[in-house]
Amino acid sequence: MNFTLYSYILSGNCYKIRLLASLLGVEHETIAVDFHPGGAHKSEPMLALNPAGTLPVLVAGDLVLSETQAMLAWMAGKFDASGTWWPQGDADRTAQILQWTGFAGTLTATIGDLRLHTMLGRDIDVDRARAGARTALRTLEAHLAEQVLCGRTWLVGETPTIADIACFPYTALSGDAGLEHDAYPAIRNWLYAVRSLDGFLTMPGIHALHELREGETDHG
């Protein structure tokens, strides 16, 4: 097995690791951790593995990772023969990808928190999270709209990168938190592009694109 992922099925951060693994065809083992209702991510064995008490945790031999950006970069670096998901050699491009994987943390802290509140009843500062989530979605929309004007689909460059995978889950799941995508056409277009990728994987709240049968059109 290439790695073991300690995972919670409803977590967008756990999902992004499973999603990239699926896109790259990387086999792995998943261990379900009872985040809700059990709170098992704060249990002693999990804290021994990851003192931060967060999920996911990726283990590959002696390597233990608890930051999703690091996991995405590791997986792409190790298993992506094409070298396009985490391209090296162009400092500007690498920095832009890091910029957006960092931004994914903002999405988690705003949309992710709001979703935990509306779905699982977590006690949070709702006004702060909602305002932050709107700002984050607007930032993303503005960038993607600019990319579209340049004839591009993805966050950085001409092909999908780990930046897209990092930002995809909580953007796609914002409906769970009561934030619809109606006002964000560029985001909708980009979400559709990610869902169209070969090897795409769903999670609860993110549905598969319905396959069109021969003779059907997009509008029929």
Binding site: Y8, D34, H36, P37, M119, G121, G175, P204, A208, E211
Partner: protein
Amino acid sequence: MTPLERAREDWYPVEIAGALAAGQTKATRLLGQDIVLTGTADGSVTVTAGGEDWPVCVAFDHVWTSPSQTPRPLFEIPEAQEKERRFVPCGVVRVKCSPLRAVENFLDIAHFPFVHTDILGSEPYTEVEPYKVDITDDGAEVIATKVKFFQPQAAKSAGGGIVTDYVYRVPAPMVSILYKTCPPKPDAQDVITLFVQPLDEETCDVWPWMALYDYDSTMPELIQFQQMIFLQDRSILENQKPRKLPLDPKMEIPTRADLTSVAYRRWLKRNGATYGALTDAA
């Protein structure tokens, strides 16, 4: 009797049994009213609403309460006595929809291939074969039997695709119980329930519970399988308009596959159990 008065005579789940430590409190809502739960030294819970103590009982791993001092008797699940089953409370999920819509969705199998793709259903196996729906002689329950459906992964314990037999019971307006083929034990049936706590007419907390024959899966795996299924439904439920369940047959057109839903809606109407329902065409 108003729909609210009718609804106040039933029991509702408000917490998992044993989840509150002694002295620990939790504020929640039931039928539009704020209530406070407090854990007691003997592992039980007290429920108060505006200074008034409400009755409490523990059943199926959950704490139940009622605004009425003389509620209707809580329904029974005989399988809860079978000690060799694994009992799995799955936690709570909040959904912005009528509590009745949450129950109705649970009764529907036609959506499996489209919402629970490659798990509870898959294309092209979308046909719902004819099945049977009855209301028990005493009028107390809706029961659907002889429901069959092809499922790629019917349960956590299922190794591959099987035709699954289903039986559905609705023993109270905001409770649904299903019995389905148990992959590792073909002579028995798994029991999966949806207990719904109505916060108000358009918001509910849903407490799924299971009584299974599955000795291989870990508890987190069982819980997450059920959460995965229910959360696939949640985004659909939150987008159903109107939020309340329409009981006027002119408002939503049923097909033959919706027989259980039709019987459920009629039964609600006949019983005056219309808290969370739209009774007139808007």
